[in-house]
Symmetry: C2
Subunit: 386 residues, 2 copies
């Protein structure tokens, strides 16, 4: 196990670039144009929470050969210069007349021949983080060069995590595991859910999170209605099931798992539902190894949580995890991706209880040569009681 340290050696980034360039050659792409936080960070190491500001677009160009080129607002030059990127071109953003389009077009004309193609992420789970009008202006400015899909190159590379990436995820998971263990310190009947959320985020920070980009959850008598709600100011009462689902970050890598707590003794329906969630998780875990398919994990869980063949509200029973809270692939019946060493996944079954309330459970696993390994501490069938 590699001990987690901040950042990566330059060799990790150059290896990512070489792999991307090999796939670009196969796909016939002359460059990749990156516009989103995880894409830019994956190839450069540029880590900042400043993406929270929607004002400025950021661009990185990966040529078919040679080094990456950052085309970024001046405010980012100092931080980008601390990465392995050496070719950093800046403009004084925000510029109401031309917010980086001319500089980006010049760069693309320089590295992409006339008639060449520039790949951008255009598939599921992606978006282009630049104004649509700027895309149109860029397309007009690059002559015969064409903006096209990126053949899922970055998505495919990010699917398999390196040991240092897994070490960062493991550290994030560990902080969340310890915070969940301390929930009885902050949650009891009479405490408002909004206060529980606030205090739980404080526990995550105390246990080592750099920040807590995601916390959702719910509390309700005998279950809850959804898993994406923010907290209300309503106080917990005996009989509630409290669910907390967190994606906290260490050095830019996420965990994503939840825990359920019964405020007082659980009802039989809740106890049974929770036991089924754990059984489903264990069933998927047992078959998760190289060669199995993502859809196999789906079916292993769904047979337990939806024995009548129904579907969960969430639309899937888990997903990839890493630089983002949720990543490719989705654990659904239609996904026939083969499991490979280095995939990090969440197993996230949900059950609907009599009366329509739901319960959802989630664990994080990594695929290794001989099978899966739990990153989060797997839970017992008995729901935790507070």
């Amino acid at each position: 196990m590699t001990p987690p340290v901040r950042g990566f050696p330059d060799a990790e980034f150059s290896a990512r670039l070489v792999r991307a360039q090999a796939l670009m050659a196969i796909a016939g792409l002359d460059a990749l144009l990156l516009t989103t936080e995880p894409e830019v960070r994956y190839y450069t190491g540029f880590l900042t929470r400043f993406w929270e500001s929607p004002t400025r677009p950021w661009f990185v160009v990966l040529p078919q050969s040679g080094a990456p080129i950052a085309v970024i607002p001046g405010i980012g030059a100092h931080l980008m210069a601390q990465t392995w990127v050496r070719d950093i071109r800046t403009w004084a953003a925000p510029d109401y007349n031309d917010d980086g389009v001319a500089l980006l077009a010049d760069t693309l004309r320089e590295v992409v021949p006339g008639g060449g193609t520039i790949g951008v992420a255009d598939q599921m789970e992606s978006h282009l983080r630049m104004p649509l009008a700027s895309l149109r202006a860029l397309e007009a400015a690059i002559g015969t060069r064409r903006v096209t899909g990126d053949d899922t190159i970055t998505r495919r590379l990010r699917l398999l995590k390196s040991d240092p990436e897994i070490a960062k995820i493991t550290r994030a998971v560990g902080a969340a595991d310890r915070a969940f263990d301390r929930v009885p310190e902050i949650a009891r009947a009479g405490v408002a859910l909004s206060q529980v959320f606030r205090d739980f985020q404080g526990l995550c920070l105390q246990e080592g999170a750099d920040w807590v980009p995601y916390l959702a959850g719910a509390a309700g008598a005998g279950g809850y209605g959804d898993v994406i709600s923010p907290a209300t100011d309503v106080a917990l009462v005996a009989g509630d099931v409290l669910m907390l689902d967190t994606g906290l970050v260490w050095d830019g890598y996420f965990c994503d798992f939840d825990r359920n707590f019964s405020v007082g003794a659980p009802t039989a329906a809740v106890a049974d539902g929770h036991a089924r969630l754990i059984a489903a998780t264990e069933a998927a875990f047992a078959i998760a190894r190289p060669g199995a398919l993502i859809c196999d994990l789906f079916h292993a869980m769904n047979e337990i949580v939806n024995p009548d063949g129904g579907a969960s509200q969430a639309g899937r029973l888990g997903h990839g995890l890493g630089m983002q809270l949720t990543e490719w692939p989705s654990i659904i019946a239609a996904d026939r991706t083969g499991l490979q060493v280095g995939m990090v996944l969440t197993l996230e079954p949900g059950v609907t209880l009599p009366g329509g309330k739901i319960l959802v459970h989630e664990e994080n696993i990594v695929i290794e040569a001989t099978g899966a390994r739990f990153l989060s501490r797997p839970q017992r069938q008995e729901i935790r009681v507070i």
Copy 2:
């Protein structure tokens, strides 16, 4: 002053819709298509941190007349049903074959006549949060209807905050002000900056933040190199200037301001630089009233922080604030927006000290009929010392 309560009455949302529909009529738009978190929330009240997951696209259609239509993943149906939106159409996302495009196209064909236009945000500070391939498929599926710019309708409406919105921002600002007052509890020579960041977020939560989407800052001898960096594990030492810049949230509304602290007595250069930052902030504040222009604020500050006519690294000296950490407009020389009652702005001057280090200061203000009012507690010219 309206006391802050969670949510808004339905009347606030229907008034926003009516205003948007009036502007749509002027612009000749038959519908608006909303895809991003703030756009969707502005018209519906749909508040969730689930946007952190990039997997699923979310759509809201505002027809030229009539009620909004949500076209969303099934996982969001329960939460959306708690808003004022009644027409909620869902699909089982993620769907690898068609992730909502057919359902959205059906909806648009229903409310937009053949040959009609559908406005999307396409200007600066915007992006389209859906896969580019889905946009192309949508355009192919809606016949003679055309996707075009939204004439900045939503941006113009969001520029002016209602009293309940200002009350929420005020509550966020107050939590940050109290957290900044407590920095001496957590920061001193010998403490790693990463630990200061962690503990400061804990203070923000203790002081009432729902969550802390943004914290950047820096610490360095006699100033720092940029204002967007995450924390390092390097310990503070005497002579450092520590800067913390936070955007915390209460009920979905942000504050955004920073504070500088000198670890031990400041150097003359730091003391002078900080005094100039405060003088610049006060100069802009003094002239900030309805009828003044955004560029007036820029010049008032820039004459003090860049008396030789230079430019700050950040590219601007403040910006709008509200549902996002940064909003339209930018305080730059090119912005001739007239100040109006209800604008919430940050004043954010920066200075470069001899040797190249920088200092940045930021306050939050609201424009009222007779002038500006500080939302954050304005600082004295003397830098705080810890």
